[in-house]
């Protein structure tokens, strides 16, 4: 599913339980990160759960390749959404992606709260940082 499809799907669901069920399904579909890639450098600070994130550029097309994992189902699902936003975009496009607004539209805004329990905000910041460094 691309981000448009995810958005449509989530918007069509009413109630948090249904939304989280869908988010966890998205998470299940995200491939697990092989253990050797779960390095401390890849660990995103500011999440209570563990989140590992790698960002790179696809050699041929110079588009972003993101892989990520989490030890919680929900955060993994949120990662799937974030990855769908950024994967295969050009670094220049990525800089203009306003994940905050996207989450707001999907009614997931509270996942951007500064609470430390979940770290969507921290993840998005990490992505933006690394995108800047990739350029």
């Amino acid at each position: 599913m691309d981000i448009i499809q995810i958005q449509e799907k989530l918007n069509s669901l009413s109630g948090w339980q249904a939304k989280y069920r869908e988010i966890m399904l998205l998470g299940k579909k995200l491939p697990s990160l092989p253990e050797p890639l779960k390095t401390s450098e890849a660990l995103v600070k500011g999440c209570e759960s563990n989140v590992w994130l790698h960002i790179d550029l696809d050699e041929s097309q110079q588009r972003l390749v993101l892989i990520a994992d989490s030890d919680t189902r929900i955060v993994k699902g949120l990662l799937a959404i974030i990855l769908a936003c950024y994967n295969h975009t050009l670094p220049n496009e990525a800089k203009d992606i306003d994940a905050y607004q996207l989450f707001e539209e999907m009614g997931l805004i509270k996942h951007l709260s500064p609470s430390r329990g979940n770290g969507v905000k921290a993840i998005v910041e990490r992505i933006q940082q690394q995108v800047n460094m990739l350029q």
């Binding site: 109630g15 948090w16 339980q17 989280y20 069920r21 189902r73 929900i74 955060v75």
Partner: protein, 403 residues
């Protein structure tokens, strides 16, 4: 009775995400009765003035009321008023004590802690140990999270600690510790005993003269009171012998650029403008606690807790940690290998507010060998309906995870 008391807590009647709230996070901070909220507003609307310095009526009245709460608190804990120091919270209190007691520590002296301690009762001692060369020793506990009391007493006899600092009740698991007997054992070695009462202050109304500890710390916000306030009790002689901690106005006797002299305890440890509205609000909280019929309250909390535990026991895969017999009303559990964050987040969609994670007790989680738990912490204002809602939400949550 409880339904009557619940009416005093406006927040409990809120809808959160359009659902009735089941508040199970009282170990993090309790809700406040209207009388506490009113006392704070009333102060700002009619009585606001700085304390201790003013010739004018507002200031004198504010001072009288402010100091009257010190009396009230001393009475609640059964100690003397000059043994009470106001602080920012339990963390501030523990820092003050650990700083002050550093002077009494030498190389290789033992500071004994339990594995149940909140970071606030660990890190300040680590700092003191680093400054002095003292070492931290941890009392023994079972794999499931229960203090081994007999072995702890033996260890005290063996190590003769200079300081013993231990929580009266564990915030992560709710276990109540028999601190009285640990203190008694330590007294043989003139051990200085510190009790972290953050979790016991409201639930157990400890009689400190009976406990026999040298220091006791608490936070107002965990006992129906406002945020930004806490306090400590210190046995006067010992308290007064500690070096000053923070310095500034109010705590001094005379100041000149060539030298400064300080007042006696408690003023010695109370520089600066205090949290006046916090103290007055806490006064109302103490009134509230004093006016509840305590036996009925304990009975209610006990029944509620039993009901919670027995319902959880029926759910296969639930593991409850700690001592569910001597407990202030906390259940800390895990479900199979599911992450605490997922369970807590899903429970929240049912209006059930629990806490998840390490609860500022990482060493305890390491001891239990788990990343964290889901913590359900009760207060007297919870009712059976809350627990029924929680249990059915939990069952649905588990179903969703097992899909």
């Amino acid at each position: 009775m409880i339904e009557q008391l619940r009416k005093d807590f406006p927040l409990l009647h809120q809808l959160v995400d359009e659902q009735p709230l089941c508040y199970f996070d009282s170990a993090a901070t309790t809700q406040k009765p209207q009388s506490v909220i009113d006392a704070v507003s009333h102060f700002y609307q009619l009585e606001n003035a700085n304390v201790h310095r003013g010739a004018h009526t507002l200031s004198a009245d504010a001072t009288t009321k402010y100091e009257a709460v010190r009396d009230k608190l001393a009475q609640y804990l059964n100690v003397q008023r000059n043994e009470i120091v106001w602080t920012k919270g339990a963390t501030d209190s523990l820092n003050l004590i650990a700083h002050g007691l550093s002077e009494k520590l030498a190389q290789d002296d033992v500071i004994a802690l339990s594995p149940f301690e909140h970071h606030a009762n660990i890190v300040p001692w680590q700092q003191a140990a680093a400054r002095t060369g003292a070492k931290i020793v941890v009392l023994p506990a079972s794999k499931d999270g229960v203090l081994d009391h007999t072995a702890s007493i033996e260890l005290i006899h063996e190590l003769k600690p200079t300081i013993l600092s231990i929580c009266h009740a564990s915030n992560a698991l709710g276990n109540i510790h028999d601190v009285k007997s640990l203190i008694e054992a330590s007294k043989a070695y003139s051990t200085i005993t510190v009790v972290d009462g953050a979790q016991s202050f409201m639930h157990l109304k400890p009689d400190l003269t009976q406990l026999g500890c040298d220091f006791f710390v608490f936070s107002a916000h965990k006992a129906l009171g406002p945020t930004g306030l806490g306090g400590l009790f210190g046995r006067f002689e010992l308290l007064n012998s500690l070096p000053v901690y923070q310095t500034g106005g109010e705590m001094i006797d005379t100041v000149s650029f060539s030298g400064t002299t300080f007042r006696q305890a408690p003023e010695k440890f109370e520089p600066g403008t205090p949290n006046i509205s916090g103290v007055l609000g806490f006064g109302a909280a103490l009134d509230y606690l004093n006016n509840i019929e305590r036996n009925a309250l304990i009975e209610h909390e006990h029944t509620l807790y039993q009901y919670l535990v027995s319902n959880l026991q029926k759910i296969a895969g639930i593991k409850m940690w700690g001592d569910t017999t001597h407990n202030i009303g906390v259940v800390s559990f895990t479900y199979k290998d599911e992450h605490h964050f997922d369970i807590a987040t899903l429970l929240n969609t049912y209006g059930v507010a629990v806490r998840s994670g390490h609860h500022c007790t990482q060493p305890l989680m390491a001891h239990l060998d788990i990343p964290g738990t889901i913590r359900v912490s009760l207060a007297f204002y919870n009712n059976q309906q809350d627990i029924d809602t929680f249990i059915s939400a939990l069952i649905e949550t588990i179903e969703m995870l097992e899909e």
